[in-house]
Amino acid sequence: MISFKNLSAGYGPCDVLQNQSAETKSGELIALIGPNGCGKSTLLKTLCGIIVPSSGQVSVGDKSLSEINLKTRAKHIAYLAQSREAMPSMSVEDVVRLGRAPYRGGLGKISTDGESAIASALSRTQSDIFKSRRFDSLSGGEQARVLVARALAVEAPILLADEPIAALDPFYQLSMMQILKAEAASGKTVITALHDLSLAAQFADRIWMMHKGKIIADGTPPGVLTAENLKTVFGIKLPKGGFKSLELAD
């Protein structure tokens, strides 16, 4: 669905991401792992057009991203930023409503389809129970859910999420991963940057392991999370008995 070829990108004159290529399929949950500063956020931002690549190209279907106008691009690729920024006094529903911005008409009117997308996003993230509350009155975990709902409300076939579970407790981490998994299962391409290797192993269909601006391993969780890769990239040992799965209590 989304692919990139010989992609280099960064901030200013230095390229963080160096000459990388990969292709994805619909229905895949791809976990992007790697140490801080390895280029995960840079890759996600370049894929959705926030950063303009210094060379190479990103393609959505058979079209180059640079040939697609901003609004159309926004309808194809939803992006969930690492920062949890929103207007503090805005209601939860209004924050989620912003996900329909790419479809907005001249007077900011939202269509019936748009309203049902908003309702569905609120319900899938279980944010509908506090949809009338102010954003700043929510806990960190609840705010994260609302921002995921905002990204889901775009109803884009591609979802890029930058560390959506950072700073969340285990319950919300698991719930969030289940939401992302369900999105992929519904036929979307989901790429998410993660620091939790256990959750990556448990939920991802495919892992891209990044090191110093390059994807050094691309494959299934067992194929990528090998003792050698973990030592090279993170400087850690493979846990005895492998990575353990977590389950929500009944």
């Binding site: 931002k45 959705c48 057009g49 926030i50 901003l70 609004k71 691009r73 926004a74 309808k75 690729i77 939803a78 992006y79 969930l80 930023a81 920062s83 920024e85 929103a86 207007m87 006094s89 805005m90 209004d94 924050v95 912003l98 996900g99 911005a101 790419p102 907005r104 900011g108 905002r150 775009v154």
Partner: protein
């Protein structure tokens, strides 16, 4: 209900302002004169002096209020105001240059040219792909340069009369308001307001941060150009006719936000309405406090109200 009160309040203030002035006219004389009845002199006073003054105050106040709301929405900073982008200072530099050379008739045109040059310079420095903080820094820098050059011109004023002209002009006033000024100011402000209203939905999306807004199809470059052009038109045309009137763009959006909530899309038109009402109200006070031989300038009054409010906000912001 709240909106109806705001509209009603603004219209009431506009009507009340027609009853204030140096000439002693009764309520019935004023109303008759407004509709072209009564003595010739009364009709002239009401239709050619008081009415343009009230309308000009409303137009300038609307432009300043809307600009402040748009800039606060864009920078996501409650301390942002039209003055921060340096447009007031650039317009003042243009006007002061005209006054220095004795071209008093060309003051509005010179102020508009000053604003346009300032806007182009800020756009050049802030560039199409830079963030809100770069825009503010560019605005503060350009404004400081314009203020310094204004000081230089005053330093070399050819005579005390020219200097006093400049100083009084910088204090801001609607006392010289007439229909001609309104005809220049109103269309330019209307165009500026239209640009700011157009950018409102994007400002709402920008509340999620610049990166997320970009991913939602907002063109930051387009927003910046519309915002600068809209603010420059509103502020530049106001300063061109009435001189420097500060702080309306800072505190009117705040008060409106407290009543109507934070959505920049709604805040821009509502602050325009609030700004119109407030500026006309402030002008009524200057006229009420002005006695024979003394003149209270509008810009001084709005600053005297605005500065304590600014300090209050600054302290509140640093405590939260």
């Amino acid at each position: 209900m709240k909106l109806a009160l705001l509209i009603l309040g603004t219209i009431t203030v506009l009507l009340i302002s027609l009853f204030f002035g140096a000439a002693d006219l009764s309520v019935s004389q004023t109303l008759s004169a407004l509709f072209g009845q009564g003595r010739e002199i009364d009709i002239t006073i009401v239709q050619e002096l008081r009415l343009p003054r009230a309308l000009l105050g409303a137009v300038i106040g609307a432009g300043l209020g809307a600009s402040g709301a748009a800039l606060q929405g864009y920078t996501r900073n409650p301390l942002a105001a039209p003055g921060i982008l340096g447009f007031t200072a650039c317009a003042a530099l243009g006007a002061v240059t005209a006054l220095y050379f004795g071209f008093n008739q060309l003051v509005p045109l010179a102020a508009l040219i000053g604003t346009a040059l300032g806007a182009l310079l800020i756009l050049k420095i802030a560039g199409p792909r830079k963030g809100a903080s770069t825009l503010i820094l560019a605005g503060v820098g350009v404004g400081a340069l314009a203020t310094a050059l204004t000081g230089l011109i005053m330093n070399f004023a050819p005579n005390p009369w020219a200097l006093s002209e400049i100083v009084y002009w910088l204090m801001g006033s609607l006392k010289n308001a007439e229909m001609g000024g309104l005809m220049v100011c109103a269309p330019l402000t209307a165009l500026g307001l239209a640009l700011l209203l157009f950018v409102g939905p994007d400002l709402r999306t920008l509340s999620l941060g610049e990166e997320t807004a970009t991913s939602l199809g907002v063109s930051l470059g387009k927003v910046r150009i519309l915002l600068i052009a809209g603010t420059a038109l509103c502020v530049g045309s106001g300063v061109a006719i009435a001189g420097a009137i500060g702080f309306i763009g800072l505190f009117v959006p705040h008060i409106v936000r407290l009543i109507f909530g934070p959505d920049p899309m709604k805040l821009i038109p509502l602050s325009a309405l609030g700004g119109a009402g407030f500026l006309v109200f402030a002008d009524i006070i200057t006229r009420a406090l002005t006695g024979p031989g003394t003149q209270l300038y509008l810009g001084i009054l709005t600053s005297l109200i605005g500065v304590p409010f600014f300090l209050y906000l600054a302290v509140k912001e640093t405590r939260t």
